[in-house]
Symmetry: C2
Subunit: 214 residues, 2 copies
């Protein structure tokens, strides 16, 4: 009964070590530039096949890392969704999109690698899909997007899609850039993740409300 838990605990510790090591190495060097051997070693495993044993393919490992974080972000976004309620202010909904992600990064022990990891994963066509799958599986995200669409002024469909992509890129790469700067101890325009989120929200709202050239 409680016995099984002990063995599980040991395995979970190893799994966790592999996840953490992989996230860091993938973020710094790129997913396909890092071998499973290097991940195993960085996780303190004598066995060079530890990754294969616990996760299978490299894509499975990437999915596991993504899911771990997605769960945390989901938790934060649900809370935020409660605060937003049924607001009709575009800014509130953009905040519900942005803030949970940056709050999550702020909560993580420093230095963080998650944003850079995401940026690396999103550049690969195959892995890209894994990432979007894990994100779109989130009910809170879906509800946020719906609420956002309700109070957004009417836009041509192609502009709507286009600006959605712009907002995604903005969140992803501004986070990755800030994270990199923090890791390398170089200057950042904002002194906290919270302030960075505010600036990001300002920009994204401006982007969505910009007039459309026809």
């Amino acid at each position: 009964m409680a016995g099984r838990a002990v063995r599980q605990e040991r395995a979970d510790a190893t799994r966790g070590a592999i996840l953490a090591a992989a996230e860091r190495l993938f973020a710094e060097r790129g997913v396909y530039a890092v071998s499973n051997r290097q991940v195993s070693e960085a996780a303190g495993q004598g066995n060079n096949a530890a990754v294969g044993y616990h996760f299978g393919t490299k894509a499975d490992l990437v999915r596991a890392i993504a899911r771990q974080h997605a769960e945390q972000v989901e938790r934060l976004r649900l809370r935020m969704l409660g605060e937003v309620g049924d607001s009709t202010d575009v800014r509130d909904w953009v905040a519900a999109l942005v803030r949970p992600v940056l709050e999550h990064l702020a909560e993580l022990p420093s230095p963080t690698w998650y944003a850079r990891f995401c940026a690396q994963v999103m550049t690969d066509p195959a892995l890209h899909e894994i990432m979007t799958d894990e994100s779109l599986a989130s009910p809170a995200l879906r509800r946020t997007v719906e609420g956002f669409n309700r109070c957004l002024p009417e836009l041509p469909i192609e502009v709507h899609i286009e600006r959605g992509a712009m907002a995604r890129h903005l969140i992803l790469h501004m986070c990755a850039e800030r994270e990199r700067a923090l890791a390398e101890n170089t200057a950042t325009p904002r002194s906290s993740w919270h302030d960075a989120a505010t600036g990001l929200i300002d920009g994204i709202v401006g982007l969505w409300l910009a007039p459309v050239t026809r």
Copy 2:
């Protein structure tokens, strides 16, 4: 005299083949996931050391690719700069920032790999610097940024830096995404690079003119 040119021509053809092959492979798989051997083979070279012979390190090869394109973009931007003149409309200057890049992509034979190549390069801290060096070496870009700053409403310095970064990310990754979609024959929100540029300019202008939360 004319003799030397023939040998040079042969070498230039090989160099060109290597540049083209490297750009494609780097864009698709990432710079460090592709070996010099693979580049040499893809360029039709029997010699597995052809890359080393013609370019030296992988960073030198990346720089050569970046420079090649930067020259074309420079040419287009200079022309655009003439049209903009001394306009005081923010939009004109954003257009001078954006249009040359997308015009260059439109001029290249399809499919293109340059935008994805840039996106890959920018994710690596070491290569990142090579790319920015090649870009900032452009006088036309510098003049454009200056002209832009002259007609932009006053912003806190940190917001200015922040939004500059946002605009950069937007241009880079929207181009890469569109390029990927074209290569994979999936849907794109806009039917031409020119229209994509218009949408991008709309968004970036909105971003810069957005009110600042204090």
